[in-house]
């Protein structure tokens, strides 16, 4: 007869269900999740929203109008060329979020593979791979981007490449360290004793154990990448007009800060809100996915 406290009839809570349960109890993280979801939805639907609700496109100029503050026609005002700020904010957000997401995915993919292989192989392989990372780390990022722009011209794909190429380094280091720790554990030895191949052990047994830290670091990378994009755009190295990103909008707004403060305030607020939300979400995920404190 099983002891009564085992709940055998209940479906066993999986790791992810547990994590979701803990995340839901974290108010700040849930706030972050909701804000990010809403913003992503709004920016993703920028086309239809601009067409049917706002009634202006992001590039539709009205030079005669010039910059005006928020009113009932232009809800967030217009910029120097009379373009609707709300439309530009939504379109800009689309690019900012996309850069954030894509560059993170790129860095995730390279960083996780590189770090996992390095940590798992160990020895001389690890030594060589990690010294390469050190060398890349030492390259000044801005100069690297400027060089890329000079040689290949400015386009948005290059922006992903440039940011991704820098961001994966940290990811690789984190993953390598974790893999080295986990490969010492007995279940990896047990997997070897079962006759599993090295690749299967690495990708089926070790990496799943790293999902927690990887997800957390990825959510923290998104805002970092967005900030980088804003920084590059601010320097005039990023997204080119008439396209906009939050970084571009902030730059334009900063130039007109005194005459038309709304041009700075709204994009800056949108950016700050997103960054805060993503960071809260990342922190929340870290707590939720950390099984060490709550289980065993």
């Amino acid at each position: 007869m099983p002891p009564p406290d085992l709940h055998l009839d209940e479906k066993s809570a999986s790791f992810w269900q547990d994590a979701w349960h803990r995340l839901r109890k974290n108010r700040l993280a849930m706030f972050g999740l909701v804000v990010v979801a809403v913003l992503a939805l709004l920016c993703g639907l920028a086309g239809p929203i601009c067409g049917h609700i706002i009634g202006f496109s992001y590039e539709q100029q009205n030079l005669a109008l010039g910059p005006v503050g928020p009113n009932h026609v232009h809800w967030l005002g217009t910029d120097r060329m009379g373009r609707d700020m709300l439309a530009r904010l939504l379109y800009g957000g689309r690019i900012s979020l996309m850069v954030g997401l894509l560059a993170t995915v790129v860095s995730l993919f390279i960083g996780v593979t590189y770090g996992a292989v390095s940590g798992f192989a160990g020895g001389n392989v690890d030594m060589v791979l990690m010294r390469c990372v050190d060398i890349l780390y030492a390259l000044p990022f801005t100069i690297f981007v400027i060089l890329l722009m000079v040689f290949f011209g400015q386009n948005i794909i290059l922006l992903f490449v440039a940011i991704g190429a820098v961001q994966w380094l940290t990811m690789a280091r984190i993953v390598r360290g974790q893999v080295m720790a986990i490969k010492q554990q007995e279940f990896v030895e047990a997997a070897r004793a079962l006759g599993l191949r090295r690749r299967r052990i690495l990708f089926r047994h070790i990496l799943p154990n790293l999902l927690g830290p990887i997800i957390v670091y990825a959510t923290l990378t998104v805002p970092e990448v967005m900030l980088l994009e804003a920084f590059l755009s601010f320097l005039g190295l990023g997204v080119q007009p008439p396209h906009s990103s939050w970084g571009v909008l902030i730059k334009e707004g900063a130039e007109m800060m005194e005459e038309s403060p709304w041009m700075l305030i709204y994009p800056a607020a949108a950016m700050a809100l997103t960054l805060f939300s993503l960071n809260f979400l990342g922190d929340g995920l870290r707590d939720a996915l950390d099984t060490r404190g709550s289980k065993e």
């Binding site: 055998l8 007995e186 279940f187 047990a190 070897r192 079962l194 006759g195 047994h205 799943p208």
Partner: protein
């Protein structure tokens, strides 16, 4: 022909302080269906011997310097990793000391149980799942279909060791290597796990190599026992012979230092001194400095196991020549 024949196995660890000769000239055989106990204190080389056979030694620090491990005609020590994987988990399985850490915390019990089947046999997932559930009930896990969906952290230590045993035996191996399978468990659970292993041995008829430092466990479980010290074989014999007709001072000393329930109020016997430093070359018998029977020759002549009675090997120089009052 024996199932496994280990001949003159030598292996060492390269450390910063020098070369540690962890296993020196170890030879033994296991017949089909036989249970061999490997006894010795920590650092005597018993685990490392098994890890060598299984190809689980940490590279590049560990190095096999010589010898063979012939399993069913193939030398396991000489096989390339890919070939070795056809034996590991399929014909030779292993269970480990600490059941708390030898299961992957992030995957379900059934996934882990099915894995050896899926990689070693041509089998559908559904069939593998059925075998996994059968195996779980065979090792005495109540309500296997619900338990199989659980994660290792939802299991107690004893239950995890049952799962480990199920995982090791699911491919019906010819040889099971058990590296101190009960050391991390409390005494009542220890007895249950040993009972389970006995039952599985009867049902599946596999040979077992049991590593332990617990003489009590070994005496009740094994057909033959081999005693190791400082990487060498000191004595090996049928279990009853080893315990009742001991032919090596070290084995006798081990027996005397086992706490017994009936003798009260007497201080427990301990072997004076400490195990030798494996970094230093060891001429002669490694136990000589601690041995109450040691004579001058013991420090010089190599200790090589010689048959002193039918099926009974001893590496003790004096036992080989005369009748010691052990």
């Amino acid at each position: 022909m024996p199932l496994l024949t280990v001949n003159h196995l030598r292996m060492s660890f390269q450390t910063r302080a020098g070369t540690a000769r962890a296993v020196q000239d170890v030879s033994f055989q296991i017949e089909r269906g036989e249970t061999l106990g490997l006894v010795g204190e920590s650092g005597s080389g018993k685990s490392v011997t098994c890890y060598s056979i299984m190809g689980l030694l940490p590279r590049p620090q560990a190095r096999i310097e010589g010898g063979q491990a012939i399993f069913d005609g193939a030398d396991l020590l000489a096989l390339p990793p890919r070939e070795l994987n056809r034996y590991r988990g399929r014909r030779i399985s292993m269970i480990f000391q600490d059941p708390m850490t030898s299961l992957n915390p992030y995957s379900r019990i059934e996934t882990q149980l099915m894995e050896p089947l899926l990689i070693h046999e041509k089998i559908t997932r559904a069939a593998a799942r059925r075998r996994a559930l059968d195996m779980l009930s065979a090792v005495g896990l109540p309500d296997p279909s619900a338990r199989a969906r659980m994660y290792p952290h939802e299991f107690s230590g004893g239950m995890r060791q049952r799962v480990m045993i199920a995982m090791a035996l699911i491919t019906k191996p010819d040889l099971l290597i058990a590296d101190e399978p009960t050391t991390a468990l409390d005494v009542t659970v220890q007895a249950q796990i040993l009972e389970l292993m006995k039952r599985m041995r009867q049902e599946l008829g596999m040979a077992i190599l049991l590593i332990s430092h617990d003489l009590g466990v070994v005496s009740g479980f094994c057909d033959r026992v081999m005693v190791m010290y400082a990487g060498r074989v000191m004595e090996s014999a049928r279990t009853a012979d080893l315990f009742y007709n001991t032919r090596h001072p070290y084995t006798r000393a081990l027996q005397k230092s086992t706490p017994a329930l009936q003798v009260k109020g007497r201080e427990l016997y301990t072997i004076a001194g400490a195990p030798p430093d494996l970094l230093q070359p060891l001429p002669g018998c490694p136990f000589a400095p601690r041995c109450e029977f040691a004579i001058e020759a013991c420090a010089r002549a190599e200790a090589i196991p010689v048959e002193v009675a039918p099926g009974h090997d001893s590496a003790c120089l004096r036992v080989q020549k005369e009748n010691l009052p052990l």
